[in-house]
Amino acid sequence: MSFLRALLRHSSGRIGAIIIAVFAVAAILGLAGLTPHDPLAQDRLARLQAPGARYWMGTDLFGRDILSRLMVGIGQSFAVALLSVGLATSVGTVLGLTAAWFGRLWDGAVMRAMDVLLSFPAILLALLIVAIMGPGLVTSVVAIAIVYTPIFTRVVRGPALSLKTRSFVDAARTFGSSRRYILTRHLLANLVAPLTVQITLALAWALLTEAALSFLGLGAQPPNPSLGLMLSDSRNLMESAPWMLVFPALVIMLAVLGFNLLGDALRDLFDPRTRRALA
């Protein structure tokens, strides 16, 4: 609770938290079907309508409500981001922890494999995986998870290696504590802070990657709304229907911004140096 209060006292933390909270509400409403209009319903009489009283953010080529579509799109983006980052975090944490703890061959094997994955530009790797699995939301989750697993592996392994040499781990070993006890109570518990920061930032990247994939037509398939797809639909219409470009663009920017701000704030709060300065 005091942590939350500290977060809200932090200026960028406050802004980030508000943005994410608003978007989360929109996302939940969107996924629960509580949108102002049916996001798939085509209003033949209201095609390409500018924002107005009935359609607050206007309609698209088919007369579908952009606000409703954005809400569902945010919901899907958030779901993809959360699932993929969750997956990447779990796998990356296990790999990073064990690599750091066992060292030698296992460490070498894991880290070289991660090097290989990291040798591909993220989008390219995601594209390859989408090609293998076929486009769709599940694929997006898996692709983004695979892209970010090496990052989490590294994020965990580095501090885990240094934690491993800390005296309290030495102390635990002198007591004869079990490996599992040491890995969870001593290493993992102390990785919560860097992991939280990393997860928040990774959520921002995952949103970006998801949007990029669907922008290329490889994410959610039409007519399902997705932020990237809505943007790419706007390309040939931006002169006559700029709201089709502006609103999805703003939503992507703000969502990513929210997570970035939150991540920055968390990093500040977890960093003993800045914590002292903030106190």
Binding site: S12, P121, A211, L231, R235, M238, E239
Partner: protein
């Protein structure tokens, strides 16, 4: 062991891993290779013809043999033949890659030219209004995907100025450097925005850390001015994380090129790879992806070497 030598030795090893990964990954893509290769004509093949074709392309062998052959060709610079282009993959790369590289490098230069001074400036004015403005811009820049920047730029140009970026026929650098630059500047800006923002942020953070380091205090105790202390003592240290970032970000630039080339209709390798993946052009995907990874790794190797040049602790292997 010597750091530089170790990096050099790691390079082919990781490359080998990358080649295996690409090879296997593309073979996991659903769809028969022959069908993908012949398209409409494949329906007319008799089973015997199909077998002989498979033998011709070496697809009758198991993956290990296929891989070994591919690797053999690779070593001689033979990346195979693209089915969709009917050209050697190496030729397609030779024609298309310079543009992508130029785009990525231009973005990088722009990002560093904007980001470094902005970051250093903000750090020296920490917590003052000018710092805040830089940080807000950097934060927004980092949060805006390149395709949004690209689309918004096109939109602003077309609606605000009634014009559009010059996208038409691509002018190679060798033909008309100025025309080329005019064509690439907007895509490079779109691609480089997030990178510039990241450089700003990391340069600021590094600079802030460094300004409180003991050795900066030492330099001050020698009676040097703020400008000299920053330029001569702080900046070389602040460059180290920026160089690291540049290596990582180069990958994002290469990847981002896929999208930006698509939006700005630039005939670079990014567009090729997207098409090739979508059209299951095995040899082309293998070749181009491997080549991109190769360049990414190469840049990271250069970054590692730059590291060694910047930081003697790494050069001589600190304990």
């Amino acid at each position: 062991m010597n750091y530089v030598l170790r990096r050099l030795l790691m390079f082919p090893l990781v490359m080998l891993g990358v080649s295996v990964f690409v090879f296997v990954a593309i073979r996991l893509v659903p769809g028969d290779a022959i069908t993908a290769m012949l398209g409409t004509e494949s329906g007319l093949l008799t089973p015997a013809q199909r077998e002989s074709l498979a033998a011709y392309f070496g697809l009758d062998q198991n993956w290990a043999v296929q891989y070994w052959r591919w690797l053999g060709g690779l070593v001689q610079g033979d990346l195979g033949l693209s089915v969709t282009y009917g050209q050697p993959v190496s030729q397609i790369i030779a024609e298309r890659f310079p543009l992508t590289l130029e785009l990525a490098l231009l973005s990088m230069v722009i990002a560093l030219l904007i980001g470094l001074p902005a970051g250093v400036f903000a750090a020296t004015r920490a917590e003052r209004p000018s710092d805040l403005i830089v940080r807000v811009f950097a934060m927004i820049g980092q949060s805006t995907p390149n395709f949004v920047v690209a689309l918004l730029a096109i939109y602003v140009l077309s609606v605000g100025f009634g014009t559009l970026p010059t996208m038409g026929r691509f002018v190679p650098l060798t033909e008309d450097p100025l025309g080329n630059l005019a064509q690439l500047i907007l895509p490079a800006l779109a691609l480089g925005t997030a990178f510039a923002a990241a450089v700003t942020r990391i340069a600021r953070a590094a600079m802030l850390d460094i300004l409180s380091e003991d050795y900066v205090r030492t330099a001050r105790s020698k009676g040097f001015s703020q400008g000299y202390v920053i330029w001569r003592h702080a900046l070389p240290n602040a460059l180290i994380p920026v160089v690291t970032l540049s290596g990582v970000e180069f990958g994002y630039l290469l990847g981002g090129a896929v999208i930006v080339e698509q939006i700005f209709a630039l005939p670079g390798v990014g567009r090729v790879v997207l098409d090739a993946i979508l059209q299951r052009d095995y040899a082309l995907v293998q070749g181009v992806v491997l080549f991109i990874a190769f360049n990414f790794l190469l840049v990271n190797l250069l970054v590692d070497l730059a590291y060694a040049a910047l930081d003697p602790r790494i050069r001589y292997g600190a304990s």
